[in-house]
Amino acid sequence: MSTAIKDTQKMIEEVLDAYPEKSKKERAKHLAANDPSGQCSTCQVKSNVKSRPGVMTVRGCAYAGAKGVVWGPVKDQITVSHGPIGCGQYSWWSRRNYYNGQTGIDTFGTMHITTDFQEKNIVYGGDKGLDGALHELKELFPLAKGIGILSECPVGLIGDDIEAVSKRVAKEFNYPIVPVRCEGFRGVSQSLGHHIANDTIKDYVLGKGTLDTSTPYDVALIGDYNIGGDAWASRKILEEMGLRVISQYTGDATINEIAIATKAKLNLIHCYRSMNYICRHMEEEYGIPWMEFNFFGPTKTYDSIRKIAAKFDEKIQEKAETVIAKYKPVMDEIIGQFRPKLEGKKVMLYVGGLRPRHTIGAYEDLGMEVVASGYEFGHNDDYKRTYPEMKEGAVIMDDATLYELEEFTRRLKPDMVGSGIKEKYSYHKLGVPFRQMHSWDYSGPYHGFDGFPVFARDMDMTVNSPTWDLIRRKK
């Protein structure tokens, strides 16, 4: 075992010392020193298990994964938060899944629609009210193409049968009414919500749309939620390569787009964690191959463009090279502009989905090094994909707590941290440059050739803001 690994392991042990015995033993399995070779048996983290009570996990719930991530961005379906008032309120347009359309008329993305459970719903059940709610929505929003029912905790606890209500009303309305059993107590994090949402796409929508013509170059862009317009920037590249993006999941998506993904020749998946399930299903049922790609930062983008093109004919491969040749000078200029200001800076990441590994290359393009990275709700397959991307001895964290993040920051002294809104302001107080890497801190896009300049600009303003120097630290 190398010194780098040993040193990191020692640091982790020190951090864990503050825990009571039981939680210490448990948390020790989730923190490791990175071994890119995968040889070191103690360097694998355990993941996708329950968070310990009382430690201040950063994780959310199944509803957050199903409503906030997967179904919420679908624009021409009405998404109902079924249960008490809070869940829908706190997740109201917080992910900025951009879309085109007239809100409240033919699209519904920025709306918070809820059955607002009262005590009587808990006592007598909520099915009758749900039936009434669906009918009221149909009257008020005649252009909706479907309704999703996203269950909150009480629905599953009181034994409501939302599937029966959905089935009955769907027949009457002649469009999909999708019951999503994503009660927040199910599973251990957002992750199960993604899976449940994928399953409902499969059961209620997939294969039921219309596509007028097909071409050999039809692809689906999956696992891109169009945060700050990400999917549009990725789509631009795919189209310039000569591919025809027939379906976009689920950022700026319509029900029809989701339904026709089965007609793609290849499924391209960006966020593997949240949408691998539907890709696997389409592979098994429809024989559609799928591949992961990475459009963060030019190096990974060039690489992905070539890998995608390799799945098609020479015409596409030539176009792919033309696209790379077109954008490379621009990307080189951006790197020339920002790299000198960011060279050698250390980054700590604690995020979710694809970002803990997918953004590493973009940082490296700017000369920055990711010294610690972790997932809120990753699984073993995510970590396996992450180890080779990071240096030996880097810190790998699974389901980190506020306490751990603070301790690692103190010891690793990163030049910037990328994490979420709950972490942001404690880092501001610490005087550690910070960027929200879930929402791009209200900026974006960060994907593709149009996204990287924005990413580079944002990382520069984060690390090099003069405001950090104004902080007068107590001696």
């Binding site: 009382g54 201040m56 996990t57 809070g86 607002d116 009262q118």
Partner: protein
């Protein structure tokens, strides 16, 4: 140098506009004429009637759930960790929501209950949760509230906390107040009330003794940190000793010293314990303190007054009553502040007189705003309160009836911002008052928005400026008149009325 375009500009470019057109082939959207037809229909009286008929669905409601109010309240006590028994996603949401408004860190604990707790109850989660919280975050107090999950399965907080002490996972003398805060009853203001009552009950137990000369001030679910600082300043000017219950000012507005403090401030526990011996208690909000004030009246044997100092006359009453309670006169400095605020209102009245207002928000803030707007000669027209009850409806209606400027006013309780949309289309107004989500009404109806309330996500630092007292009234007047003037500029930019002196 390359021009870097982010989303604000990027997607307006022709290549993206063409992409959006191409994408429609797969989207299968409705024809443009159909969308326009339905869009126009939603602006009609017919649609409004249909909209007001609904009983089973809320669309863009302006309220949050009980536990949010509970954790907010708990964080206002020194060294107190808000601790929520239930599923973990809720706490992630409370933390995000409060951080987005205040631009400050917010710590709270979840017991991360999952399926097994749904079957067997949440006792084990509570035991391990308390043990970990105490070891890792070293609180002086742990304030327990609940999510709907714990409420539906019937977790008994009192007995769980007792068991925790018996098992020694927390020290015997650690205060652990609790409140049941089901999210399917009331709203965030009720959760605040329940938690505050729970905390005061626990802390005051056996503390009744020598009366002190202090006044307790309960701000209520007040998300203006500037209000807390303002009340402290005013109490100092009055020479009144006071205890703020609960003081969230530093929790949500702490100085940057290069250090992250988990517990940056809050009401010191010894002071909170002594609150039972105060001269009296003044609540600055009514609807977020109903149970707490009832408890104080009955159990603490004190004068308990509810006085919300928003607007001139409300602030007058506040100082008169405070003076009566304490025997201290209102100093000249405060009288001068009153004079300045009134002077500003006199100067600005031509731009507010006769202007029609629509308001959406929490009950107490709405009452204050209605009062102030009428003092300026403005007309409150639509008052939407998603979390208002019958008492609020009666009180607001009575307030409107008390002034000739309130004759057009109508109060809508249990209604939401989609109702408001219909109201604004069918009976337009000049100004809208509401939180950040009301900006979608700006987009739909073109009504200019004054951002007052909670949450305020899309403008920075507004919560740092007080809206209570004479100074706060002056701030509100400044916001109102300048919003009118900004709007006037926007509307006259191509005309000779684009005046430089107003």
């Amino acid at each position: 140098m390359i021009k870097i375009r982010d989303h604000n500009e990027l997607f307006k470019q022709p290549d993206y506009q063409e992409q959006f057109e191409r994408k429609k082939e797969f989207e299968k959207p409705w024809p443009k004429e159909k969308v326009r037809e339905v869009s126009d229909w939603t602006k009609t009286k017919e649609y409004r009637d249909l909209n007001f008929k609904r009983e089973n669905i809320k669309i863009n409601p302006a309220k949050a759930c009980q536990p949010l109010g509970a954790v907010f309240c708990a964080s206002g006590f020194d060294g107190c960790m808000p601790f929520v028994q239930g599923a973990q996603g809720c706490v992630a949401y409370f933390r995000s929501h409060l951080s987005r408004h205040f631009k400050e860190p917010f710590a709270a604990i979840s017991t991360s209950m999952t399926e097994d707790a749904a079957v067997f109850g949440g006792l084990n989660n509570m035991l391990e949760g308390l043990e970990n919280t105490y070891a890792l975050y070293k609180p002086k107090m742990i304030a327990v509230s609940t999510t709907c999950m714990a409420e539906v399965i019937g977790d008994d907080l009192n007995s769980y906390i007792k068991t925790s002490r018996e098992k020694g996972v927390i020290p015997e003398d650690l205060p652990v107040p609790f409140a049941h805060t089901p999210s399917f009853v009331g709203s965030h203001i009720v959760g605040y009330d329940n938690m505050l009552k729970g905390i005061l009950k626990t802390l005051s137990e056996g503390r009744s003794g020598e009366p002190n000369r202090k006044v307790n001030i309960i701000p209520g679910f007040d998300t203006y940190t500037g209000n807390y600082l303002e009340i402290k300043r005013l109490m100092a000017l009055m020479g009144v000793e006071y205890t703020l219950l609960a003081d969230v000012s530093e929790t949500f507005d702490s100085p940057n010293t290069g250090e992250y403090k988990l517990y940056p401030g809050g009401t010191p526990l010894p002071e909170a314990m002594d609150a039972v011996n105060a001269l009296g208690t003044i609540a600055l909000q009514k609807y977020s303190t109903v149970k707490t004030m009832d408890y104080i009246k009955k159990e603490w044997n004190q004068q308990a007054l509810t006085l919300s100092p928003i607007g001139i006359r409300n602030t007058d009453t506040f100082f008169e009553e405070l003076s009566k309670l304490t025997g201290k006169p209102v100093p000249a400095a405060i009288e001068a502040e009153r004079g300045r605020a009134v002077d500003a209102m006199v100067d600005s009245h031509p731009y507010v007189h006769g202007k029609r207002f629509a308001l959406v928000g929490d009950p107490d803030q709405l009452l204050g705003m209605i009062s102030l707007i009428m003092e300026m000669g403005g007309n409150p027209v639509h008052i939407v309160c998603t979390n208002g009850d019958k008492h609020f409806e009666a009180e607001a209606t009575e307030l409107l009836a008390s002034s000739p400027f309130g004759v057009e006013g109508k109060v809508y309780i249990n209604k939401d911002m989609w109702h408001m949309r219909s109201l604004l289309f069918t009976e337009p107004v000049d100004l809208l008052v509401g939180n950040s989500y009301a900006k979608f009404l700006v987009r739909d109806t073109g009504t200019p928005l004054l951002r007052i309330g909670f949450p305020l996500f899309d403008r920075h630092h507004l919560h740092r400026y007080p809206i209570i007292g004479y100074q706060g009234t002056l701030n509100l007047v400044t916001m109102i008149v300048n919003t009118v003037l900004d709007e006037m500029d926007r509307n006259t930019i191509d005309t000779t009325s684009f005046d430089v002196i107003r």
